[in-house]
Subunit: 374 residues, 2 copies
Amino acid sequence: MRTELTRALNFFATTRIRRSPFWPGVVAAGVHSCSVYNHTLLPVHFRTPEEDYRHLKSRVQLWDVSCQRQVAVRGKDATKTLALFVPRRVESMVVGRCYYIPAVDQCGKLLNDPLVLKLAEDSYWVSIADSDLSLWIKGLKAGFELDVQVWEPDVSPLAVQGPLAGKLMGRVFGEEVRKLRFFGYGRFGFKNRELVISRSGYSRQGGYEIYIDRPDLAMPLWEALMEAGRDLDVGPGSPNYTERIEAGMLSYGGDVTIENDPYECGLGKYCDLEGASDCLAREPLLRIREQGPARCVRSLAISGPPAPMCDKAWRLACGDRFAGRITAASWSWDLETNVAIGMVEAPYWDAGTELTVELPGRTETATVRGSSFT
Amino acid sequence: MRTELTRALNFFATTRIRRSPFWPGVVAAGVHSCSVYNHTLLPVHFRTPEEDYRHLKSRVQLWDVSCQRQVAVRGKDATKTLALFVPRRVESMVVGRCYYIPAVDQCGKLLNDPLVLKLAEDSYWVSIADSDLSLWIKGLKAGFELDVQVWEPDVSPLAVQGPLAGKLMGRVFGEEVRKLRFFGYGRFGFKNRELVISRSGYSRQGGYEIYIDRPDLAMPLWEALMEAGRDLDVGPGSPNYTERIEAGMLSYGGDVTIENDPYECGLGKYCDLEGASDCLAREPLLRIREQGPARCVRSLAISGPPAPMCDKAWRLACGDRFAGRITAASWSWDLETNVAIGMVEAPYWDAGTELTVELPGRTETATVRGSSFT
């Protein structure tokens, strides 16, 4: 029985999978592959994977990441609400800044790894990865009788990423936007409307995320950026599978799941348990920190020719002992090796450790690196 | 600018989108299109849409619906937990039966429309539609300090649907399985293991759902059913877009969302507010029931030649007044018209009302029907 899928799988699009307000631009730009993220269509490829990758690293791209939905948390108890599931000092967050946080349940298991924007003393946007975090927060609100509103506003982020992102953004929003520090955000005018823009994004190439809160502004913004960046060779793009593996950026649901705690995910540096006195998971996380995790996310290099798509985890072994699992892998055209992310068991996670990995149809050597290649 | 997508969109498969244990069988059976449901790949088409549809209505199909995840709720407070968000008398549910329920938040908005299996007095499986309902229940557990465990066990349903489903099931599980009443379930042996099997499924053709709780049993089960049904022309299939529209079966996230209450969704008959004294949404739902909903899901027939894919809602109008939105539509080869589901505003929802509908590139007449075509 042939059980490997060798041909392409077409996507069957119903209204259950939401379209973004940038969709006309995405189609005109020639999208040819997609995924689904937060019940929303995520455009993936426009040219070959290598062309998309090299273009991101040398020019500037527009990414339709409207699938990165916002959960709005607003009201008297907004800070108190976040403090229940964020293992750090939420009350010391400041307006105008973004925070990458592990969102955890009461056992300390990862529910999401969003970016939080503090909009006002009583108002946050939680910019979510691929899980319905709003349902968790709504459940807390009901159970703890919190004086807070929780909803998903119709906000669609457009990411502008790549080394020329600052130049392009300056042309459209004025030079002030270039003064934003990393993980800072501000409000900038476009068509008589103030848009939230943050210096952030899911790449190591530098860039911005623009939060469109009125769908009718989406295509004018897309077209204004395309027009202003013509001589910069601006083009369409997407969170880039290869580049994000090189950068050691995690994908929730793939590399890390609700089975993992923040320490296993390498997110211990985003935890501040001393400051997290109201976090439901404080006690379990203190125990985990004390004991140290039994496994941890690592970057790995895989020997041999370009690896096939890692659509199901690949087993890592040391001799015949289980050593972990590879959850993402790609040929890196810049590094001229296969780059990968995996969850590696404690005895094997030191940099330099050589493991074997079972790819479809072949066995290769996987060498543990640090937390990224870049 | 060309903004309609006329070519096929390939699906980019990473580990973030889960594969089912039936996947080798699905691939060998020739799957060529897919969707994503509950972060899991859902196979859609195997032959032409017309062939898949006619085969379902005349033979028997195996559907890999492992994407229909189970949320296990178990413990002393299990019934109390469900009673918080199920607007009916949960304590009168009986072991051995399945219940289709609206799952609502404290405002009475729809979070999911799952099937609930009562496994024991203190144990339920909530067989979910496309939203992370487990996060809501986990939030309630934390806030109300409920003595209950909430998790997604690794259970993958396989649906056996079509007029010959009973015959096929009897051959593999014995004639006893055919005595199950609609929405009843039982435990039946397969390879020295007891499997939960319910008389249920997302079609009007009759059928069963088999809940595999050990991945290594998935392919043996798939193969046993394929082998036993050879002379019945058993084949692969999927929740059928056309057949489910004819049957008026809803798709959560598409036809109805968190914006809707159960009465708007036509699910008032699954509410029993007199018996739902512990439901958080009892008061708001009593008010909504009293006032009557402002809009409601309806079946509609659309004139003209076969409609294109409805991947974005189509506006319904009466003259120039907004009358609702079509959220699913398909040519019905049996009924020889376009069948559709839409959310129709109150003044226009009576059967026989003729509205206009704006499809891509043309305007047609949409005639309101009852709650289904079948």
